[in-house]
Amino acid sequence: MSDENTHSDQAHGANGADAALQALKALQAEIQETVLDTVGAVDAYRIRFLSRKQGQITELLKRIPEVANEHKKRFGQEINAAKALVESRIETAAAAFAETETAKGPAFDLTLPGRAVAQGSLHPITQALRLITRVFESYGFDVAEGPEIEDDWHNFTALNFPPDHPARDMQDTFFIEAPSHAHDGILLRTHTSPVQIRVMENKKPPIRVIVPGRVYRNEAISYKSYCLFHQVEGLYIDEGVTMADLKQIIHAFARTLFGEDVKMRFRPSFFPFTEPSAEVDIWWKDENLPDGGRWMEIMGCGMVDPNVLEGLGIDSEKYTGYAFGMGIERIAMLRYGIDDIRILYENDIRFLEQFS
């Protein structure tokens, strides 16, 4: 007590400093010990100590002038240390909460299905055609197209089908105009071969081209034939082209479509516009058949008949060439295991979506 009296002139300062220091001491314990287990607790803690208006540390900072000069430095240091502690505890707690939040995951159901996006698809005929085209393009073939309504000359005569010849019966034809003295008959092309003629009319050899397109046949509709289908025809005219070259390109094609070990055979046949002519069969494995499979025809081909070349002003002594043609539907049906051609033209979505 005497002390208090003795230093009465400094009593205010000494007592004030004392009170502030004590207040700080008392706070330090709370700063250290307050439990920060909820976001609310952290918020309250921050407001209680650091709020600009009523924070207890803020208050103490305001009381620095009360503290005696010789204590000021230490008081200041302690207060700052206290403040730093508060801040650091808030930060640690917040980080911990954030971590727990992440670990808990967001507050919505992630197992709900995604927003549906409509799925589209390419028709299996397009897919098969693209596959075929890709093979031949990789072997340097160009692609050409031509009209579906054709004249008799391009569809038959220029391709060495003589008038009144039974070869014309090989392809049942839809006619649009009967021939007259003034002009040729008009018909729906029965094959894409007339485009060969159109290409050769406009270009001199070398010619290396494939021709995809829609063709028409006047046949009864059944599981294996439709009134129209799609063909890809190939033509290569150059010096020194032989049947051996034809076999090579067709074999390469068959390997790409039906596997490296595809078994293939060339069987003599007849097409008016090629000579010699062949049909190409591949061995189709089928455990249910007595022979373990059967030969399936995939295309026709041959060496371009000299009559066709000469008819277009191409010297058939100098140039030889091969041609081949296949039905895209047939290839698609083999590849995808489709057993009825009509389903390709029905376009049921349950069918189409299988080719997405």
Binding site: V143, I176, C227, L228, F266, E346, I349
Partner: protein, 826 residues
């Protein structure tokens, strides 16, 4: 054509199994479609002798027989045949033998039965003594088939039968004959190819062929008035024939190749045709007036009754066979009822002629009547085979019908055959086929099929090849090369290890590249590609030949086919719309609630235009896109939304932008027969197509329940406009900030927004880079007759824009909107 392997073996001993034969034929160009095995070889059935036949102790109708099979102890067999008796030679099916037996319920149905040791009413039985029907030899079931008494005990019954000329087994090989092989439409023709393949020789039946003259030539006269259509007419007379059934062996062979036996004379003409390829006709000689045959064309339309009792209208110019008074046959196609061979016929005139292939083909087409004869004539028969075939038939008629050959032959041959000669260079074969074949081998191969080869020069090796009369298809060097290649075997041609590709520039068309890209864009955006029929009922084609659709804009006529399969497919589509609507309807009726489809294809109209390639037809490529039902499906995130026109516009915008087309604009197309409402799409001034809502009536016709939106675009025009637009050109990207300003203006409700955007775009130029509509509002705060439209404007330049220049651009836009549309800033 079907051949019988038994029949074939009359002419060639090839030593191949049926399946090997079929493979070899296929690989030489005679494609075998099927091999059917006929009959059984009766393995296990042997010749036995009935040693004793006692009545069965427990059954009156059965006998217990002891049968000697020539191998020691006789065996016991219980037999039910009434005629079985000791001493008979019989056919015995031994234990383990399987026979195909007529079933009791229906003797025409057969079932396999394997012989087992059994007890019949207490007596052991070790096999079966067979009746004829049980052996597949006819239908006789009346009793045991009793064999010749000199039959060898224990001999296989099959061998017993073949020694007596009866054949048990046969194979029918069905061959698909290509049009270039008229020589192969007969057994002898096939035998020639088999000879070349195997080295065996062909042995045709020996037939004596006289020259023109003799008694026959006095009794029959033949006049050919159309020698250019009938280069040869041969007649042979056989008198005193008895019309009856053919012998079993002939009936068996005809049945094997799918022909119905009729009577001996008619069967013989068919038999010889299938033997050598020459069609024959047998006239009842007593019905041939004046015993005079005239070959001539009809001079006007004629009616004629063929032997199938059908009256046929013959066009003028039809080649006919006539007698002194009337027509008796349609040359090369079918005989007449008035002169056909009947039960009472006793004198037969055999016709064997060569008719012009094109003439026969035209007549057969005109009459819609293809016969075995016309099939051969129109392909071209052997020019030299007529006399042989006629004499062969006469020989068989003498043998099988008890006739007497009238000496001699009528052989009217106005245009004798001249063999073709073709020069063939040995080296050329390698140039075509790609493999060096030994020249001696080449000669062997073609000589085996009847060609004659003589060397013209040794170096370079060149041959003169004489073409046989039965190969009308062979005329040029390449034809001979084909024969060599096919007999050599395509499978023997080696593949080269390398190939060269010509030095040229591929020029794939832009049309195709753009199409393929668009397919990817559309399928990548939820559309499914379809392929629909190009052929439609005429009235549907007519309805969609509309000026609202790309092809219809040419104002051409609908294209019809002259010979449709059905009326459902008699016209070509002028639009892909009906095809797609059918698909939409089909899918909606099969439970699909969201249908988004597209298709590329050709559409047609009859009118000559600047894109016409053929005749007076315009064929353009069209792209159709269609959507019906839900655009967005219902999910936990929201409810479903049905498709509307703006969805389709968005698709078309995306599509056209993705192939590099800019400045696309739309204009309201007036309501029409196809669409309730819709818009025309333009690029600049060029019309690209139309999008719209399919009219209620049409939707109903196609059972479409949900609103359907369709766009059909003229892909030809789109490709043409993009012809140079393949490679994008880089434009420097601005490094300066973009300035955005929003404006809202009030206009009359009826004011279309499309033209306002176009106006803004021009008025805001060059700083304005983009203008989009972000709100259209009617209602509170806006007068009833008006609406508010809000635009977001983006300004950019290759420098930092100052506020005041953007302000100026905005006020230019506002002023333009006010002047043009009376728009007021809101």
């Amino acid at each position: 054509m079907i051949i019988s392997t038994n029949w074939l073996s009359d002419y060639i001993k090839h030593g191949l199994t049926e399946n090997d034969l079929a493979d070899r034929l296929t690989m030489c160009g005679l494609e075998v479609e099927s091999v059917d095995f006929i009959g059984s070889d009766l393995e296990g059935v042997v010749v036995g002798r009935v040693v004793s036949a006692e009545r069965h102790p427990n059954a009156d109708r059965l006998s217990v027989c002891q049968v000697d099979l020539g191998d020691g102890e006789p065996i016991q067999i219980v037999c039910g045949a009434p005629n079985v008796a000791a001493g008979q030679k019989v056919a015995v099916a031994t234990i383990g033998t399987t026979l195909s037996l007529p079933t009791r319920e229906d003797p025409s149905v057969k079932a396999d039965l394997t012989m087992k040791q059994v007890k019949i009413r207490g007596e052991e039985s070790n096999g079966m003594i067979c009746a004829a029907d049980e052996l597949g030899l006819g239908e006789d079931h009346s009793g045991t088939l009793v064999l010749d008494s000199d039959a060898e005990l224990g001999q296989a019954f099959g061998a017993y039968l073949s020694a007596r000329g009866t054949v048990l087994k046969d194979a029918a090989i069905d061959i698909s004959i290509t049009p270039n092989r008229p020589d192969a439409i007969s057994h002898l023709g096939i035998a020639r190819d088999v000879a070349a393949l195997t080295g065996a020789s062909v042995n045709p039946p020996a037939v004596a062929v006289p020259a023109h003259g003799g008694l026959a030539a006095e009794q029959v006269s033949v006049t050919i008035e159309a020698p250019e259509l009938c280069s040869r007419y041969v007649g042979v007379l056989v008198k005193g024939v008895t019309i009856k059934e053919s012998p079993d062996w002939m009936k068996q062979r005809l049945l094997a190749i799918g022909l119905r036996p009729r009577n001996n004379v008619v069967d013989i003409t068919n038999y010889v045709m299938y033997e050598c390829g020459q069609p024959l006709h047998a006239f009842d000689f007593d019905q041939v007036a004046g015993h005079h045959i005239i070959v001539r064309q009809t001079s006007g339309e004629t009616s004629f009754t063929t032997l199938d009792s059908k009256e046929r209208a013959l066009p003028s110019g039809t080649l006919m066979i006539c007698d002194a008074n009337r027509e008796v046959a349609i040359a090369g196609i079918m005989g007449g009822e008035n002169s056909e061979v009947s039960q009472s016929t006793s004198n037969v005139l055999i016709e064997s002629a060569y008719f012009d292939p094109s003439t026969i083909r035209r007549t057969a087409k005109a009459l819609g009547l293809q016969t075995d004869a016309s099939y051969r004539f129109e392909r071209g028969i052997d020019s030299e085979g007529q006399a042989w075939a006629a004499m062969r038939a006469a020989q068989l008629m003498v043998e099988l019908a008890g006739g007497e050959l009238v000496d001699g032959i009528v052989d009217n041959h106005p245009r004798p055959f001249v063999a073709k000669k073709v020069m063939v260079r040995a080296a050329r074969v390698g140039q075509i086929v790609g493999v060096e074949i030994d020249p001696d081998e080449m000669v062997r191969l073609i000589e085996a099929i009847g060609f004659q080869v003589s060397t013209v020069t040794e170096s370079p090796l060149k041959w003169e090849v004489t073409v046989p009369s039965f190969r009308p298809d062979v005329e040029r060097e390449i034809d001979v090369i084909e024969e060599i290649a096919r007999l050599y075997g395509f499978d023997n041609i080696p593949e080269p290890q390398h190939s060269s590709i010509p030095n040229f520039t591929p020029t794939s068309s832009n049309t195709r590249l753009l199409r393929e890209k668009s397919r990817n864009v559309l399928s990548g955006n939820g559309y499914r590609e379809t392929y629909t029929n190009s052929m439609l009922p005429a009235e549907v084609a007519e309805m969609f030949n509309s000026t609202s659709l790309p092809a219809g804009r040419f104002k051409g006529e609908t294209v019809h086919t002259l010979n449709p399969i059905t009326t459902e497919m008699s016209a070509l589509r002028p639009s892909m719309l009906p095809g797609l609507l059918k698909v939409v309807g089909h899918n909606q009726n099969h439970g699909q609630t969201a249908v988004k489809l597209f298709e590329f294809g050709r559409v047609h109209t009859k009118k000559k235009t600047n894109v016409t390639l053929v005749g007076e037809y315009t064929e353009i490529e069209s792209l159709i896109v269609a959507a019906s039902g839900n655009w967005e499906g219902q999910g936990w995130y929201g409810s479903a939304r049905e498709v509307d026109l703006f969805d389709l516009k968005g698709t078309v915008d995306l599509l056209l932008a993705s192939i590099g087309m800019s400045s696309i604009r739309y204009a309201d197309s007036k309501p029409n027969d196809i669409f309730d409402y819709g818009v025309d799409v333009y690029s600049g001034k060029r019309l690209l197509g139309t999008l719209g809502k399919v009219s209620k009536k049409i939707a109903q016709d196609y059972s479409i329940r949900l609103a359907a939106f369709v766009g059909e675009l003229d892909w030809g025009t789109i490709s043409e406009l993009n012809s140079t637009n393949g490679t994008p050109r880089y434009v420097a990207v601005s490094r300066f900030p973009v300035v955005e300003r929003d404006i809202a203006v009030v206009v009359e409700k009826s004011q279309a927004v499309g033209p306002m955007i176009e106006k803004i775009t021009t008025a805001g130029s060059p700083l304005l880079s983009e203008a989009l509509v972000f709100d259209v509002y009617e209602g509170k705060g806006i007068e009833d007759s008006q609406k508010s439209v809000a635009f977001g404007l983006r300004f950019a330049a290759d420098r930092t824009l100052r506020d005041n220049e953007v302000d100026q651009a905005v006020s230019k836009v506002l002023k333009a909107l006010e002047q043009e549309f009376g728009a007021q800033l809101r």
